[in-house]
């Protein structure tokens, strides 16, 4: 089981620039659906990659689903060679995304993101409209049911405001 508090805690403590996206962002906005991992969009500056490496190093990140024993090195060079990484760690599963369909990079998403106050810390999370746009752009059949729930949450929030 993924320890959301532990993962968010180490990212925040190491001052990593990231935005919570995907199922965890949906939970933050009120979704009742289960998610097994933490998805984040991370900033790809050299300094931030170093912070990300430091934040997760103690938790032994490894490629999820890959056979054991692969020469996977958790360092800045590895992060520079790729964009999206689906990892398992001793704190659970975490997906590191350089960009997402319907949203773009950290820099694209940051202005519209909302500040999340959770587990005694502050972190950035996709706003509900951003999340809906991203799910719509992903366009996978399994996203349609999620989209239905997110739109209902938006309707409920709108009804509460009016």
């Amino acid at each position: 089981m993924t320890d959301f508090e532990g993962l968010l805690g180490t990212l925040v403590r190491h001052d990593v620039a990231f935005i919570v996206v995907g199922g965890a962002a949906a939970i933050a906005h009120g979704s009742v659906r289960l998610t097994s991992d933490l998805d984040i969009v991370y900033q790809r500056s050299a300094a931030n990659l170093d912070r990300l490496v430091a934040a997760l190093a103690a938790y032994h990140p490894y490629l999820r689903g890959a056979p054991p024993g692969l020469p996977f090195r958790w360092d800045r060079v590895t992060l520079l060679r790729g964009m999206n990484f689906t990892l398992v760690s001793s704190l659970g599963e975490i997906d590191l995304l350089g960009e997402i369909p319907g949203g773009g990079t950290y820099e694209d998403l940051r202005p519209g993101a909302v500040s999340l106050s959770v587990f005694g810390m502050e972190c950035q999370c996709l706003s509900l409209p951003q999340l809906i746009r991203a799910k719509r752009a992903a366009g996978r059949p399994r996203d349609l049911e999620v989209l239905a729930e997110l739109e209902l949450i938006e309707e409920e929030a709108g009804a509460e405001e009016s």
Binding site: I27, A28, L34, V118, R136, A148, E156
Partner: protein, 61 residues
């Protein structure tokens, strides 16, 4: 809140009819932290049920 602008998708609209709005409304009353803690509790429960299912399932020859 600024809603995401989009055209209505008939498949999404069909899914909406089957969603439990009361469940969503109750969840929206919780704080963000309470929503995460509830999700982690559910995940723990699901994992436990999965393990229990494996124990009672007859072993394949």
């Amino acid at each position: 809140m600024e809603p995401a602008e989009h055209e209505k998708d008939p498949v999404v609209e069909a899914y909406k009819k089957d969603l439990d709005r009361t469940l969503l409304r109750e969840n929206l009353k919780l704080s963000v932290e309470e929503r995460f803690r509830k999700a982690m509790e559910l995940a723990r429960f699901a994992e436990e049920m999965r393990r229990a299912g494996q124990r009672v399932r007859p072993r394949q020859p």
